[in-house]
Each structure stands twice: as structure tokens, then as C-alpha cells.
């Protein structure tokens, strides 16, 4: 069973399409979308319709803070560009997309796996898992062997050491990491639609559950087209540039 994990897609149709194709070529047969499906990008309707289809076929989909904001729930933590994009996004969404977003849970549990957008410690508070302390809190609250999440846009793997402290690790694209079930793991799969680590390739991860292995990937996609759509839609220039530079 190969589970493809996507987070922070941010209405980037080109990026999520490329990641899905990459995962399918590697034999993915299950999917999880870890929140922030919309925001920033120019294709909220197409992206939501695509993910809703996957959801109807059994994919895991959880809610992110941008998704909540698009539903009208106030979020003061969003910056000016994000606010502008959310305001624009709200006008694009129809009843169908709003209903889909409204149906999404904050967390989902499947056996020993917990899916959540931000920290499992308080899923609705959108806490960034930005270091071992936050990871420790999320792992303690998650009570799962594996926690898969997003929110932080950079790929990171935390593994429980014998000392009871999570250790951070920056994965290398394409290297399968054995994730023994006798340990606890927290994986931030990275942003598919808005990478920010000075690398403009889309992020995602693929978990081989039978063999207990997790592989992080960086996938090139047509970021030029995605950026062009953002400009044509009149969304902030900074957001378009971010896709081109990956920062």
C-alpha cells in the first residue's frame, strides 16, 4: 500500500497535477491531502474539484487555516498578501466548493496514523511545528505511530529518540527512509503549491506502508504557468514571484 501525502497545495493546479502524476507513476494507491488546499494561487475551483473527486474515492482530506479563512472564519495570522488572496478566493468559490470545504475535519485517524494540517496538540490553533518542542507536543497529543502534517512549508522528519526527544531531520529527495513501527514519527511533507526553501520544485511524500518506508520528493512543474495565472487574476505580484523563485 503506497500512500501519497500532499500539503499546502494553495490553489496551484500545475503543482498538484505534477505531484499526483509523479506519485501514480511510482504506484501510489492511496492519497491524503493535508490542508491548505486553497489560498495564494489562481485555481481554487479546479483544485478543490480535483481533490473532492479523490476524496469521494476514499482519499483523506483535512482542513487547513487558509481553507477555514476561505469559509469566512477570521484568521488574523494571515499576512496582507494571504488576506488579499483569500478575499479573491472567496469570490471564486461556488456552493459546491464551499460545501466541500465545510465538510472537512481538522484531523483524521487511520489505525496508527494521524493526519492533521498543523499541530495535533491543538489542530484548530494552527500551531507551526517549527522545532523539536512543537514536534514533541504534537507527538504527545497525537498518540499515533505516524503523524503526517503540513502548515510548515519545508520538508522535515522528526523521529523519537530513545531519550524521549524528537530529533529533526531534513530529508533528501528520493531517498527512502526506513520508519520502524517501534518508534514514533512526525513527517512534515512540505508544500506542493508554494515551496519556500529557495527551490521551486513542488514537495510531497510517499509512504510505503507495507515496507514501513517514507520517501520525500521534489517534483519540477510548470511554475511559470502557475505564476502567470496569478498575475492575470490580479493577485499580488509577490505571490507569483514566490513560485518562480521558490522563496
Amino acid at each position: 500500500m503506497k500512500l501519497a501525502l500532499f500539503a499546502d497545495i494553495h490553489s496551484n493546479l500545475e503543482a498538484i497535477t505534477a505531484c499526483l502524476a509523479h506519485a501514480q507513476a511510482l504506484g501510489a494507491d492511496r492519497y491524503a491531502f493535508l490542508g491548505d488546499l486553497v489560498g495564494y494561487g489562481a485555481d481554487p475551483v479546479a483544485v478543490l474539484d480535483l481533490i473532492e473527486q479523490y476524496g469521494a474515492n476514499g482519499a483523506v482530506v483535512v482542513l487547513g487555516n487558509h481553507d477555514a479563512a476561505a469559509l469566512g472564519r477570521s484568521d488574523d495570522s494571515l499576512n496582507v498578501n494571504a488576506q488579499a488572496a483569500i478575499a479573491w478566493t472567496r469570490n471564486q468559490l461556488g456552493e459546491k466548493q464551499r460545501a466541500f470545504l465545510g465538510s472537512l475535519p481538522l484531523t483524521l485517524r487511520d489505525d496508527d496514523i494521524l493526519f492533521v494540517h498543523a499541530s495535533a496538540a491543538a489542530p484548530g490553533d494552527w500551531i507551526y511545528v517549527s522545532g523539536p518542542t512543537e514536534a514533541e507536543q504534537s507527538i504527545a497529543a497525537g498518540n499515533a505511530g505516524y503523524i503526517f502534517c503540513g502548515h510548515v512549508h519545508e520538508q522535515k522528519l522528526y523521529y523519537m529518540g530513545a531519550g524521549g526527544r524528537p530529533m529533526p531531520f531534513r530529508p533528501v529527495s528520493g531517498t527512502p527512509i526506513p520508519m520502524g513501527r517501534h518508534r514514533q514519527w512526525l513527517a512534515i511533507v512540505g508544500s506542493a503549491g508554494q515551496p519556500r526553501d529557495r527551490n521551486n520544485k513542488a514537495c510531497y511524500a510517499l509512504a510505503d506502508l507495507d515496507r514501513s518506508r517514507l520517501t520525500f520528493f521534489r517534483v519540477p512543474y510548470d511554475h511559470g504557468l502557475a505564476a502567470q495565472k496569478i498575475r492575470s487574476a490580479g493577485l499580488p505580484e509577490r505571490v507569483a514571484r514566490r513560485l518562480e523563485r521558490g522563496s
Binding site: 529518540g161 530513545a162 531519550g163 530529533m167 531531520f169 526506513p178 520502524g180 514501513s212
Partner: protein
């Protein structure tokens, strides 16, 4: 029946003779229908009373061996069982001598030690360039195949920068064999390939003198002495130790990782070419540092700041070796100039690179002259003078340039062989020229281009039209 005894089975593998019973794991041969197989099974000691590090070492060993590209320098991993079910590793059985077998004969002759050491350094370089640091290098973890190639075994404490370091910060007492570990390992640093170079130096020291460079520490306080105390120079223990060997050993054993060799390939190079080792004060030192510098170092060691680990992968490429093939023939100054210009551009692009000036001459046996020039040594010296004359205008520091006169009837094969053994990164060679006097290696350039293990630049003087 003993669950690990001969005849018992694990996941369909039938165990034979137990060849090693260590504190962390046991190792047995595997047998098939018609006798022993060329395989071993390694089973970690788990369960009550065993140490937690055993489990992690098993996971690390499996991860690192599984990630390494197949090579003669480490055993091939064939199969494994999981920690959650039945943990075991099935690996290639390496039928060879253990470096440990040489220990009782120490001090070894310098030439024998250089041969063993060069092979081991090449094996280390092989894993280092795959972003693996062994971190438990000791004579019992090194085997030699019958062709002389060294094999590193037991990767239970290794670090692979593409994988989570399961051993980081987990265990409070320093991991590894305290006789051989580097100062930064004492402090828990696990990502520096130069730590292996230190342990390698400690092994050379032991085999060259019969003594451990830092004794056999049994307390953390004693272990920490290597953060400020330099070892007794080998020459003070074995007077016959050549300066080049002491230079290499003490260069490996520098306290600060930045002052050691930057890569194991360089150590292999020096061990394979003793006359080329640039001897510094290290090589001729007769005693340890006096109390004044020692006191300064001791004060610093209390807040010892280990060198930052070099970034993965690119760290090995930082000291590339450029081979310049210089012809024995005289009088082709335009080509000499062109080769020098090409070398100068490479040197300017990388201030770490080393230049090996190489020429090939027929074997001494074919010489029959009476004059000084025609004797083997006379000719050798003349060629060395030519090489030095060629390199002088480059203005390179002494440790960055070496000179080699190879003896062979087949210049191309000799150059290629040299490039392989010394891990050369790029070759500069003169182009053949039609008409006119023969260029330095007629017909050789083409063969080198097609068979060399690295990039080859064929250099030609600009033709005036």
C-alpha cells in the same frame, strides 16, 4: 536447541558455525544443502539485560548497508528482518585476513604499513563520497580480500547524511572504541568524515609503533585528553620510522579536524607515493608539545568547539587531483606552455586542488647506456628535473604539487592505472599532432580519453593560421 546454534533456522536461513559472539551481536555462517554458503547472518543481542544501543546499531547497520552502492569495500547486504519481528542481517561472507591479524607483529615495516593503509584509505574514501562516516574504525573492523582490497565491516555506529541519525544525542557515553575515536566524537559529533581519518591515523600509529597513541582510556577524563594532548611522535618510539610516515600519521591525528587531511583519497595518495609527501615539522618532531602550548590547548579544550561538519557530497570533491601528463621528449615548448595554461585555469578555479605532474618512461631493464643519463637513477632524476621545471611557473605551494616518473612500456595504461589508484579527478594531456615532430605521447591521448576513469582534457597549442 540453542536458537542461534548450528542447524537452527531463521526466516528460512539455516545457521552454521558461529564465527563471532560480540557484546552487541552474534555472527554465524549460513549453510545450504551442500555445505557452507558465502553468506553470514548477523543477529543483534536484544531482550532483557542487553543494551538499548544494540537495537539502534542494528537499525543503523541495515539502513547504511542498504543504502551503499554495491562495492568491494563493504559487504553486500542480501536480506534482513525487521526489529518488530525477527531482526537479522544476511550479508556477504568476506573470506579475508583481518587487520587485527597484523597487530601482534607491530611495529610493521613502513612499506608494508603503507600498502595496507593505502588500501584502507581508498575503502574509506569510497564510503565517504557516498556521504557515510563509519565512526567505529578499528583493526577488527577491517578485512582484506585476497586481491589486497580493504573491506570495511560493522556499520552499526555509522552516520549517513541522507538518513535520520538514530544514534545522535541518544547515548551519553561516547560511542565507538575509545582507543581510536576522534576528539570531536568524544563530544558527540557524528557527521564529520575526518573523524574516520583520525581513527585511521590512530590505527597507523598503533601498527607503526606497537603502542596506542592515547593509551587505553577507561574514564571520560582520560578520554578527553585527546582534546589537547598530542601523541608521542612515532619516531621517539621507533627510531626507524621514516619522516614521511610520521608526517602522514600525525597529519591524520591533528586535534582540529580542519587541520587533518581533507579526504581519505589524499591519505591514500600520500601512502602510495611516500617520496612525494611534503615533510613539515610534524614529520621530524622528536617530542610532544611542551608545557606552554599544552596549557593553552588544555584551557581551550574545556570549551572545545569541534569544527563544523563539511556539507555532504561536495566535501569530497573539494580537493580534486589533476594529473598533467608531461612528455619525456624535449623541445615542445608550445605544448608545455599550453598544458601549463590549462593547468593554471583549473588551479585558479579551485584553490584546493592538487596537481600531479606525471611522465612515463620505458622500464629500467631496457636501458643499457654507460653514461650517467642512461642509468636508471640518472634518467629518473633528469625526468624529475624536467617535471619541476614545467611546474615552477605555476607558483604552487609545495604540498599542492607532486612529481611522478612512471616506468612502463605502455604509457596510456600506466597513466590510466595511476589515475585509478590515486583517485585522479581530471587528466590534462597533449593532443597528437599530424606532421612535424611527434608529440610527447604519440597515440596515447586517444587511448587515455577512451579508458580513463575521469574527465580528460586534450590540450593543443593555438594554431596560428
Amino acid at each position: 536447541m540453542d536458537p542461534l546454534g548450528p542447524g537452527s533456522e531463521i526466516d528460512g536461513f539455516r545457521l552454521g558455525e558461529m564465527i563471532h559472539a560480540g557484546s552487541m551481536a552474534s555472527i554465524s555462517r549460513l549453510t545450504g544443502e551442500s555445505g557452507p554458503l558465502p553468506l553470514i547472518i548477523k543477529i543483534p543481542r536484544l531482550g532483557p539485560g542487553e543494551r538499548a544501543v544494540n537495537v539502534v546499531a542494528f537499525e543503523v547497520c541495515r539502513m547504511v548497508l542498504g543504502a551503499l552502492a554495491q562495492s568491494a569495500h563493504h559487504p553486500t547486504l542480501v536480506a534482513f528482518g525487521d526489529v518488530e519481528t525477527v531482526p537479522y542481517l544476511v550479508m556477504e561472507y568476506v573470506d579475508g585476513a583481518r587487520l587485527d591479524d597484523w597487530v601482534p607483529r607491530a611495529p610493521l615495516a613502513p612499506e608494508e604499513l603503507a600498502g595496507l593503509g593505502a588500501a584502507l584509505a581508498l575503502a574509506l574514501h569510497d564510503i565517504h563520497r557516498q556521504d557515510v562516516v563509519h565512526l567505529d574504525l578499528k583493526p577488527t573492523n577491517v578485512l582484506y580480500r585476497s586481491n589486497g582490497e580493504a573491506v570495511l565491516i560493522d556499520f552499526g555506529l555509522a552516520h549517513h547524511s541522507h538518513y535520520p541519525d538514530l544514534l545522535a544525542e541518544e547515548f551519553r557515553t561516547p560511542l565507538g572504541n575509545w582507543v581510536y575515536i576522534a576528539p570531536e566524537q568524544v563530544l558527540g559529533v557524528r557527521c564529520d568524515p575526518r573523524s574516520d581519518i583520525f581513527s585511521f591515523g590512530a590505527i597507523l600509529y598503533h601498527l607503526a609503533t606497537g603502542r596506542f597513541p592515547f593509551g587505553k582510556p577507561t574514564s571520560i577524563a582520560r578520554l578527553r585528553q585527546r582534546l589537547y594532548r598530542d601523541p608521542v611522535p612515532p619516531r621517539a618510539l621507533v627510531a626507524a620510522t621514516p619522516a614521511w610516515l610520521q608526517e602522514i600519521i600525525l597529519h591524520c591525528l591533528e586535534i582540529d579536524a580542519r587541520e587533518r587531511y581533507a579526504s581519505a583519497a589524499e591519505v591514500a595518495f600520500d601512502l602510495a607515493n611516500p617520496p612525494q609527501v611534503a615533510i613539515t615539522e610534524r614529520g621530524t618532531r622528536e617530542r610532544r608539545a611542551s608545557w606552554a602550548p599544552l596549557l593553552r590547548r588544555w584551557a581551550r579544550a574545556r570549551n572545545f568547539e569541534p569544527a563544523p561538519c563539511p556539507p555532504p557530497s561536495i566535501r569530497i570533491g573539494r580537493t580534486p587531483i589533476i594529473l598533467v601528463a608531461i612528455g619525456a621528449a624535449q623541445g615542445d615548448e608550445p605544448l608545455f606552455d599550453a598544458l601549463r595554461d590549462a593547468a593554471r585555469r583549473l588551479i585558479a578555479a579551485d584553490d584546493q586542488c592538487r596537481v600531479a605532474c606525471v611522465t612515463v618512461v620505458p622500464s629500467a631493464a631496457r636501458l643499457s647506456g654507460e653514461r650517467d643519463e642512461d642509468t636508471a637513477t640518472g634518467r629518473h632524476i633528469k625526468q624529475l628535473v624536467n617535471l619541476r621545471r614545467w611546474a615552477k611557473p605555476l607558483g604552487l605551494a609545495e604540498e599542492r604539487v607532486t612529481y611522478h616518473v612512471l616506468e612502463s612500456e605502455k604509457p596510456a595504461a600506466a597513466l590510466i592505472d595511476y589515475a585509478k589508484v590515486n583517485e585522479v579527478d581530471q587528466i590534462l594531456i597533449g593532443a597528437p599532432r599530424s606532421g612535424g615532430p611527434l608529440r610527447m605521447f604519440p597515440g596515447v591521448a586517444g587511448q587515455v580519453v577512451s579508458d580513463a576513469p575521469c574527465s580528460v582534457s586534450v590540450v593543443r597549442p593555438r594554431l596560428d593560421s
